[in-house]
């Protein structure tokens, strides 16, 4: 330990701080959770105060992939492709219980949890999760971003 590593760790912290308050999300919205996503993003439960208010509708410009709503087997390859198109550093939030474990759709058409396809950082359960849960999940994600924890 010396002066050099003090500066780099402070730099890491600064970068982590900057990253966590400037989240560019890619909202991969499919189903009912999208309504709660809209509610979280709008004025009542404002997600803009966390710096996450600007969704980038291109995966190449985004760093957090919000997978919102049920993913069916027909949609899964598209999700994988979107995830692959994102550049590092990237995080994935599984929003809603359908993305966490498949929800109550235990059938031939639904992927039983998107972590079977892509690595997930934060799971927000709920059907659909209340905006308060979403904000809690977002704050947990911010903690992960601040320390630079990745799951590739």
């Amino acid at each position: 330990m010396g002066v050099g590593s003090f500066f780099t760790s402070k730099l890491d912290e600064a970068i982590g701080w900057a990253r966590k308050y400037s989240i560019f999300q890619y909202p991969f919205v499919t189903a009912c959770c999208g309504m709660e996503y809209m509610a979280t993003a709008c004025s009542h439960y404002d997600v803009d105060r966390f710096g996450a208010g600007l969704p980038r509708f291109s995966p190449r410009q985004a760093d957090v992939l919000f997978v919102v709503g049920t993913i069916s087997h027909k949609m899964a390859p598209v999700l994988k492709r979107i995830y692959d198109q994102m550049t590092e550093p990237k995080w994935v939030v599984a929003f809603g219980v359908c993305t966490c474990t498949g929800g109550f759709y235990d059938n031939y058409a639904t992927v039983q949890g998107i972590d079977t396809i892509i690595p997930v950082d934060v799971y927000i359960p709920g059907c659909p999760p209340r905006p308060e849960s979403v904000l809690d999940g977002l704050m947990k994600l911010q903690d992960k971003i601040a320390v630079g924890a990745q799951r590739y």
Binding site: H73, K74, A76, P77, N107, Y108, A109, I117
Partner: protein, 165 residues
């Protein structure tokens, strides 16, 4: 027009092609022969008194596990018709066997039948003779089997498909 009168009109015109009619809970139903169904649908649409200008729904039911109908024809294709000017409804059914699941297409009569018949093909495996675009509607093309059939278990997993170009 009263439901009974609708069935009377159909019976008067098509006689033998209507194998069964019944009324239950206010809904009037006629079971029609497979060969005559397109003529019946055209007549329903074009006749001034019937005036069924809207095909409300086209679906199918699998009677494999229905108590009392295990040895009859397996599928029934159900047409729900609605008339906007007269505000009456009728239900037409066509019984289809498992070994020969083909029904003449209703696409020339109403264009909405295109997608509805694609869905019946996807979910039940009933083919529509003369359909311009016989693809699956809801499942992906590589899916094996027909999902809403009674012998398809609900949580059968199939291999995941990869990204398409």
């Amino acid at each position: 027009m009263d439901g009974g009168a609708i069935l009377e009109t159909l019976r008067a015109r098509f006689g033998a092609a209507l194998t069964d009619t019944h009324a239950q809970h206010g809904d009037h139903t006629a079971v029609v022969d497979r060969g005559a169904i397109v003529d019946v649908l055209k007549f329903c649409r074009d006749d001034a008194h019937l005036g069924f200008d809207m095909l409300s729904d086209l679906t199918a039911v699998d009677y494999l596990k229905y108590p009392g109908r295990e040895d009859g024809p397996r599928f029934e294709v159900v047409y729900h018709l609605y008339s906007v000017p007269h505000n009456h409804r009728v239900r037409l059914k066509v019984r289809v066997d498992e070994d020969d699941p083909v029904v003449p297409t209703a696409v020339p009569v109403w264009p909405i039948a295109n997608w509805l018949e694609r869905e019946v093909w996807d979910m039940f495996g009933i083919r529509f003779d003369g359909h311009p675009d016989p693809r699956r509607l809801l499942m992906y093309e590589e899916f094996v089997g027909h999902a809403l059939r009674k012998d398809y278990p609900i949580n059968r997993r199939q291999p995941l498909i990869g990204p398409r170009t």
